[in-house]
């Protein structure tokens, strides 16, 4: 710093940092509340005043993954013989149900979680592959009406989901794609491919053309040069784009709400649907939410240096 920092400036700096810390705590409080509620016993989730300190339990996760019935008052249960995780639920006055063969029955959650994984991963792979080659096409060759085409590609991403969902619902119904993984995968791929094209075009633009040209002179074909020179150079960009596409598909709600109801339902429409009539068990909802948010939180840390670029469609780079 060329300018001598005065005492006033230093105090200002300290105050600013203190403010940042306070705001960070406030911004993270809702996330902390989700995590902490997912480890609370049910009776501590809704108390007045709210419970902040408590002995953590895993019973919400047991309840999240199992089907349960309310215990009848006179019902005799061999509480002593039950495995430890079932005893956790007994304490809540509920019993894990079993199929005729004595297997513990799973709740709806694991199915939805797996559906989310299938749909998000498949659509990400498709969108990123299509996006990367199309971005290469736009980046390296003259395309007639390139600006208009790129605008068209971007504008498909800007449409409100419900606007697209009405005709897609009718078309899917006619084609038998409603409530199918394939239907959702196609929708999410279409949604993400535009994003992937824009982001990847930025990444590929940054790879010097000379690399491929040197390879072409050395006798590579254009396709070989693309696979052996461009793709490895673009690896970071591809990974960042893939993570963004995954998060978008993972979080998507409106299409999933309209296009699925049971078989292919993903977690985002399922989790809110657990709140039916009566008092919801917030510990179970928190446990489901926590597990659902965890991958995204991890990815956010891995992505931290690419967030700016991804969130601005590749327009702003550091």
């Amino acid at each position: 710093m060329a300018v001598v920092s005065s005492r006033g400036q230093r105090i200002g700096n300290l105050l600013a940092i203190a403010a940042v810390i306070v705001v960070t705590f406030i911004m993270l409080a809702p996330i902390y509340w989700i995590v902490s509620t997912s480890f609370k016993p049910r009776n501590l989730a809704t108390t007045n005043p709210p419970t902040i300190l408590f002995e953590p339990e895993v019973s919400p996760f047991v309840k999240l993954f199992t089907k349960r019935v309310q215990l009848k008052p006179k019902e005799v249960v061999d509480y002593e013989n039950a495995p430890w995780f079932e005893r956790l639920v007994f304490d809540g006055g509920e019993r894990i149900t079993r199929s005729g063969k004595g297997e513990i029955q799973l709740s709806g959650y694991p199915d939805r979680f797996i559906n989310s994984l299938i749909v998000a991963i498949t659509s990400t792979l498709l969108a990123v592959s299509m996006g990367t080659i199309t971005a290469y096409g736009f980046s390296r060759f003259k395309v007639k009406g390139e600006a208009d085409l790129l605008f068209f590609v971007l504008s498909t991403r800007m449409l409100p989901p419900i606007v697209v969902a009405i005709p897609m619902f009718l078309m899917y119904r006619a084609a038998g794609l409603n409530d199918s993984h394939l239907g959702l995968i196609i929708l999410y791929t279409a949604f993400n491919v535009s994003f992937a094209v824009w982001l990847m075009k930025g990444f590929i633009d940054e790879i010097p053309k000379e690399y491929e040209e040197a390879a072409l002179v050395d006798g590579y074909t254009r396709i070989q040069a693309f696979f052996k020179i461009v793709l490895p150079e673009a690896a970071t960009g591809i990974a960042a784009t893939a993570v963004f596409c995954f998060i978008t598909a993972w979080n998507e709600y409106a299409f999933a709400l309209i296009m699925t109801n049971r078989r292919a339902q993903t977690a985002p429409p399922f989790i809110p649907s657990q709140i039916g009539s009566g008092l919801p068990d917030w510990t179970v909802i928190a446990a489901g939410t926590f597990l659902f948010l965890l991958p995204v939180a991890i990815f956010t840390f891995l992505l931290r240096n690419h967030l700016l670029r991804g969130m601005s469609f590749g327009a702003i780079r550091k």
């Binding site: 300018v3 007045n48 299509m130 080659i133 419900i162 606007v163 094209v197 002179v217 989790i271």
Partner: protein, 297 residues
């Protein structure tokens, strides 16, 4: 330059020609987008002139512009648009104030800055529907941590029709201020240091420095953030739908959803979708213009 479209270049004789490769790389994606984005829209454009109801097998009648006339003269639809506008103004201005303010605070070096910035960015990456749902517990008048920590007694955040929209907007502000912060930080870090040094040598006041140096230089990138958030807030569905059933939070997307999938007025909802679509295209146009401007910088 050896590039690219010269069919007589050496490269062109080996393997596929560049033109083939270009077409192979670009055309399938464009076709895919046309089939799954443009074709459905043409389909619904057709239906927007009919009285089609997807829930029945009644014959479909052509009704001309009647759906559009009815929608544009329906005061309830206008109130949906008013609610949406209110929501956009409250949540976007909140995000700009919080996000830009945070960026100003963060625009200095201190230990753990990277970690804190990433933590602050976390909310915008999460699912709006799932996190929005959990805010219902935070807002709960009896057990909610918000009323408790602010000492607000039993304030019905989502139950009171007069404040439910603001409660939803507040959640949106929590989620998306980080976005404005992220873009503002990029803008702030691009302001040349020597301008501040010159200002300080000239003994310019802090306010003067802020309004004459900082703000004008950050304005273009801030504008992009504002346009982007405006567009997203205009389209908002997840948060309001999950958090509140109040008629005062019925934004256009929710009206559209109900009209199409609960009342099954398919033809009419297609017409409303088109009205919304035209509005979004207008905002997108402005957005892309500024994106390109920002790129030129």
């Amino acid at each position: 330059m050896i590039t690219t479209l010269d069919p007589h270049s050496r490269a062109a004789y080996r393997g596929w020609s560049d033109i083939t490769i270009r077409n192979l790389f670009v055309i399938p994606t464009i076709l895919f987008l046309i089939v799954f984005n443009i074709f459905p829209l043409l389909y619904s454009l057709g239906y927007s002139f009919t009285d089609f109801r997807a829930s029945t097998k009644d014959p479909v009648n052509f009704v001309g512009l009647r759906n559009y006339m009815e929608l544009l003269s329906d005061p309830n639809i206008w109130s949906n648009f008013t609610i949406t506008a209110q929501y956009v103004i409250v949540s976007v201005s909140g995000q700009v104030i919080v996000g830009f303010g945070l960026a100003l605070l963060l625009n200095r070096s201190f230990p753990l800055k990277g970690l804190i910035t990433t933590l602050l960015l976390l909310p915008m990456m999460l699912s709006m529907a799932v996190v929005g749902l959990f805010w219902k517990l935070l807002y709960d008048p009896n057990f909610g941590i918000i009323n408790y920590s602010l000492g607000l007694g039993k304030l019905e955040w989502l139950g009171d029709p007069n404040i439910a929209l603001y409660a939803v907007a507040l959640t949106d502000i929590w989620m998306w201020s980080p976005f404005v912060m992220l873009l503002s930080l990029a803008g702030l870090s691009a302001v040349p240091k020597h301008l501040y040094e010159a200002a300080s040598i000239d003994r310019a006041s802090r306010l003067y420095t802020f309004f004459r140096i900082t703000l004008p230089l950050v304005a273009p990138i801030l504008l992009i953030a504002i346009i982007f958030r405006t567009m997203e807030a205009f389209k908002t569905f997840d948060l309001a739908y999950v958090m509140s059933g109040q008629p005062t939070t019925e934004v256009v997307s929710i009206r559209l959803y109900k009209m199409a999938f609960q009342e099954w007025q398919t033809g009419k909802s297609c017409a409303l979708a088109y009205i919304v679509l035209i509005m979004v295209l207008c905002i997108t146009n402005v957005y892309v213009k500024y994106l390109n401007k920002a790129k030129e910088r």
